[in-house]
């Protein structure tokens, strides 16, 4: 972890009609860290995510990524600038094969378009090959390469979750946002996931993690930020946050529940 | 056409535009209801309207036995007799259209939802053997006999197929709807007594001028259409909001799976939805024949496209939107026709639609059946 700020979520306020989903939230993500974002349901975690990835335009405030303002960029431009995400409820391209799913992600960095594809230029073929190789590599990293040519919808649940991560990684992000990756996992699977997250971090990715499961968040995160009712109520090391009275009151309840 | 003309005849155009808009609105309701519940463009709804106009025709000529006079005119009625006749024709059209809509759902949609039943199987089997029979003999009576013979074994195998409960993708519903629409219209065109020619519907209401305002003579039939449409619309809104079945419709529209878990009979609700749409289309059909005294096998297509446009304009899935969209489309078409000529009528309608959707991508009032209390 360095002290270089990768993403600066700057005084963001987000309103829908009359409802304020986020009010004046500031979060910094440092390059190379794993930041956990927790909070009760409806606290604004997913909204945070959506603002970062361009799904929503914030009412106020800005998002600065890698030194440049990405607040008003389109979603795909944000992805191309280096932020990738997974989805809480799996959203794979179900009719495509696993490897094609990942290739869609890999294509984000490619430039060949219609004319190149029609002419099958040298450049295009090289890119195709690159996409394919990288996708297979990522599938292998996730441990799901054995079903690379199966349709995504036919994969088991655990594979689908991991395929989502592979697809996001294929866009070559600097920041990877994981939205409840452990949802529906049993403890053994969660343990594997933890290891996977570390492995990804070790490859130089910065990770933002939204998760309910304290065993995952607390074990994996370098730092944790807590949202409640659209406001940030705490930020710090997992151990600090865990004993923060505000957090206990708003979110954790009796501490031993988290076990 | 000079600009001052439109100002001079503005109110005339407004009245006739609202009358036409009422018809659009009533038909649009059917699209909106079905879309709200099933997320499906019921392309064949236009034919339900067409069937309604024919029901009105048959009700008045056959059931009420309204005779044509020597001069090609029909005898006008007044007072209680008039009300009775109008209401009877209205009910007949509503009934037949409602039944037609239910049958349509059973045959062309329910099997695609993976839920086909014996009625659908038999009907489809009959149609299949009819089509196969046509290859051998193009004579309706002989063909019908072949069709009837083939129905039993085919329907048996169809039923077995239905048991698999395969669900179809959305596009399949659209194409099935288009097919049903084509088939219904053609059947009337082939076997109707006048075949593909225009039919004249009897006129029992003398189209008197009821009152004059703003330099415009307002005819009684226009008043009945507009008031009738508003009444039907109100009745429908009350039904959807206040009755148990209506609540079921809204629940299924919002979350069919949960509604089912809570004990809502989703199939019944879908039937109710189609029936409601059909009844509204039947009402529209009766009002249509009252104003325009005509019908034809292909009358539904264009009117259907327009009504669907109206539904989208107002915000599909939204009952108030259908009303607003219908009126708006009727007016825009009328003003536009006067301004640029009748040949540009459809262009004007679609350009307005495009502009509205650019500004509000889900129509003026937005989507929602049940959402935000209709």
């Amino acid at each position: 972890m360095t002290n270089e700020v990768l993403l600066d979520f700057n005084n963001v306020t987000m309103q829908f009609g009359g409802v304020t989903a986020l009010s004046d939230v500031s979060v910094k993500i440092f390059r190379g860290e794993i930041l956990g974002l927790i909070g009760p349901n409806g606290a604004g975690k997913t909204t945070c995510f959506n603002v970062m990835t361009g799904v929503y335009q914030p009412t106020q405030g800005s998002v600065v990524f890698n030194g440049s303002d990405i607040t008003n960029l389109k979603r795909f431009q944000i992805t191309q600038s280096g932020i990738a995400r997974t989805f809480q409820n799996i959203r794979l391209f179900s009719e495509m094969t696993a490897v094609e799913n990942v290739m869609v992600g890999a294509d984000a960095r490619k430039t060949s378009s219609i004319p190149a594809a029609l002419l099958r230029t040298k450049h295009q073929r090289a890119e195709e090959k690159e996409s394919y190789d990288r996708s297979m590599e990522l599938l292998a990293l996730m441990g799901i390469a054995d079903r690379a040519s199966d349709a995504a919808r036919n994969l088991p649940y655990g594979y689908q979750r991991r395929l989502e991560i592979a697809r996001a990684l294929a866009t070559e992000p600097e920041l990877l946002c994981l939205d409840e990756p452990a949802a529906g996992f049993n403890p053994a699977e969660k343990q594997q996931l933890n290891e996977l997250i570390f492995a990804i971090r070790d490859r130089g990715y910065t990770i933002l993690l939204i998760e309910h499961d304290m065993s995952v968040v607390m074990n994996v995160s370098d730092r944790v930020a807590v949202l409640d009712f659209g406001k940030k109520i705490a930020e710090g090391l997992p151990s600090e946050v865990r004993s923060n009275p505000d957090v206990i009151a708003a979110y954790l309840g009796v501490p031993d529940d988290a076990a | 056409m000079p600009d001052w003309l439109i100002i001079r005849i503005f109110w005339d155009l407004t009245v006739t535009g609202l009358a036409l808009g009422s018809i659009y609105a009533l038909v649009a309701l059917g699209y909106t209801l079905v879309y709200g519940v099933l997320r499906l463009i019921n392309f064949a709804h236009s034919e339900i309207f067409m069937v309604g106009t024919f029901s009105a025709l048959i009700a008045s000529t056959q059931l009420l036995n309204i005779p044509m006079l020597e001069d090609g005119n029909y005898p006008y009625r007044t007072g209680a007799a008039l009300v009775f006749f109008l209401v009877f024709i209205l009910l007949a059209a509503m009934f037949i259209s409602g039944v037609g809509a239910i049958a349509l759902e059973r045959i062309a949609y329910r099997p695609l939802r993976g839920n086909g039943d014996a009625f659908g199987a038999i009907a489809l089997a009959f149609l299949t053997s009819f089509v196969i029979g046509l290859i051998f003999v193009n004579e309706t009576k002989a063909n019908l006999i072949i069709a009837c013979v083939g129905t039993a074994p085919i329907s048996y195998s169809y039923l077995r197929f239905f048991k698999k409960g395969k669900k179809a993708p959305r596009l399949a519903f659209l194409i099935s709807a288009i097919g049903a629409s084509t088939a219904i219209a053609e059947a009337v065109g082939i076997w109707g007594p006048n075949r593909r020619e225009q039919y004249q519907t009897p006129r029992i209401l003398e189209k008197k001028v009821l009152f004059s305002a703003l330099g415009t003579d307002v005819r009684i039939d226009y008043v009945i259409v507009i008031v009738g449409a508003l009444l039907m619309m109100t009745a429908l809104t009350l039904f959807v909001n206040k009755t148990k079945l209506g609540r079921g419709v809204r629940a299924v529209a919002q979350d069919a799976e949960t509604a089912r878990i809570l004990g809502v009979n989703v199939d019944l609700i879908i039937v109710v939805t189609f029936a409601l749409g059909g009844v509204m289309a039947g009402g529209a059909a009766m009002l249509f024949t009252m104003v325009y005294d005509q019908s034809r096998f292909n009358i539904g297509f264009i009117l259907g496209v327009k009504s669907f446009t109206a539904a989208v304009l107002g915000g599909i899935g939204n009952l108030k939107g259908a009303l607003l969209g219908g009126f708006m489309l009727g007016l825009v078409e009328n003003y536009g026709s006067a301004l640029f000529g009748g040949q540009w009528k459809d262009v004007i309608a679609f350009v307005v639609l495009l502009v509205v959707l650019m500004v509000r991508p889900t129509g003026i009032l937005g989507e929602s059946l049940g959402r935000a209390r209709v």
Binding site: I114, A126 | P153, Y156, A183, V305, A349
Partner: protein, 361 residues
């Protein structure tokens, strides 16, 4: 009736059998297979003279070779183009006839109405102009979703037709006559009566389009389209410039539609707004979905069916529209994904990786 399902199963196993054999054949054998199949298609105008096949395919009452070009080729081309929009990118277009009309009208205007350029020169212009129309329609409308897009495109088709009908510059309802024909090359005479040269030209165009679309499908572009169809939001968040690729889908679909229109105009020599009714759009869509939306070969099959079947069964001309309607319902009930449903490509997209490697080295 169980025999029927038996028959179906046997047909399926037969086709699986054929596929297995096909795959186990050598390159030479396969190549010769392809060549023979292509040759057989080019000889299609003579199929009615083959004993059994002839009885099956021949169209009583109409000239088979004319049907091949005027109906079958046109529908196949159009279905291929529309399949890009509807089947691949998942955009419901009910006004596709508009692009077909644009292609035909560009040819009409530039070879007869206002200029007399040769057909061959105008052909690319027609394709490009249709493409432009695709972009013009697409730019404002593509942010609409699903059924909103459907009704707007439907409106677009009507706007094109009504404009053509009422603008004197486009010949109004008189239409445009004496449209230029493709240039005759040696014995290949593009005349008024013999439709065969047109058919050969059309078939060549079909192969060309199939070739191009195949390349697109098997590339980044095809993946982007499929991703948009499957989940547009997710696609965009994975870095797919959804607007750009949807627009491309529209433009390419429009270009192929325009190509079909141009070919049609060059063959028939006369077009009028009546050639482009709204119902034709619906027929086009029916062809794509009937054959198998999203599967290029399904679309081709659908195009052939919709175009050829009515001519094959001309003995009940008065009821064929009825039969068509009923058939649509039946096919959708029993084959809701079309006759040749879309398949997930199970083979790795890099089957050609060997080729790629050579390049890389």
């Amino acid at each position: 009736m169980s025999q029927l399902s038996d028959l179906w199963k046997r047909l399926q196993s037969l086709s699986a059998d054929v596929q297995v054999r096909w795959k186990s054949m050598s390159h030479v054998q396969r190549l010769s297979g392809y060549v023979l199949a292509v040759l057989a298609l080019y000889l299609a105008p003579w199929w009615p003279k083959i004993p059994a096949v002839g009885w099956l395919v021949n169209t009583p009452g109409t000239q088979f070779s004319t049907v091949l070009n005027d109906q079958v080729i046109i529908f196949v081309l159009v279905a291929l183009g529309l399949n890009v929009v509807v089947g691949l990118a998942g955009l419901l277009d009910l006004g596709y006839v508009g692009f077909y009309a644009v292609g035909a009208y560009v040819v009409g205007v530039l070879t007869s109405q206002h200029a007399s350029l040769p057909w061959l020169v105008v052909l690319p212009i027609a394709v490009v102009v249709s493409m432009l129309f695709g972009v013009i329609l697409g730019t404002p409308t593509l942010r609409l979703r699903g059924d909103y897009l459907a009704i707007v495109t439907l409106g677009f088709g009507e706007i094109i037709r009504i404009s053509a009908k009422n603008l004197d510059w486009l010949g109004a309802s008189r239409g445009i006559s004496d449209i230029g024909r493709p240039p005759s090359i040696g014995p290949l005479k593009f005349g008024v009566i013999d439709p065969k040269p047109y058919y050969w030209l059309g078939l060549t165009l079909v192969f060309l389009v199939v070739f191009c679309l195949h390349r697109l499908e098997e590339s980044r572009v095809g993946r982007a389209w499929t991703a948009i169809r499957e989940d547009e939001d997710a696609a965009e968040l994975m870095g797919v410039n959804t607007f750009k690729f949807k627009l491309w889908a529209f433009a390419i679909g429009a270009a192929v539609g325009g190509l079909a229109g141009a070919h049609y105009a060059g063959k028939v020599g006369f077009i009028s707004p009546d050639n482009f009714p709204l119902q034709l759009s619906i027929l086009f869509l029916a062809a794509v979905v009937l054959g198998g939306s999203g599967n290029m070969y399904g679309a081709i099959l659908g195009g052939i069916m919709v175009a050829w079947l009515p001519e094959r069964f001309r003995n009940f001309t008065d009821k064929r529209v009825l039969v068509f309607g009923i058939a649509l319902v039946l096919v959708m009930v029993f084959r809701p994904e079309g006759l040749l449903p879309r398949r997930v490509r199970t083979k790795s997209p890099m089957k050609s990786a060997s080729g790629g490697q050579e390049v890389a080295q």
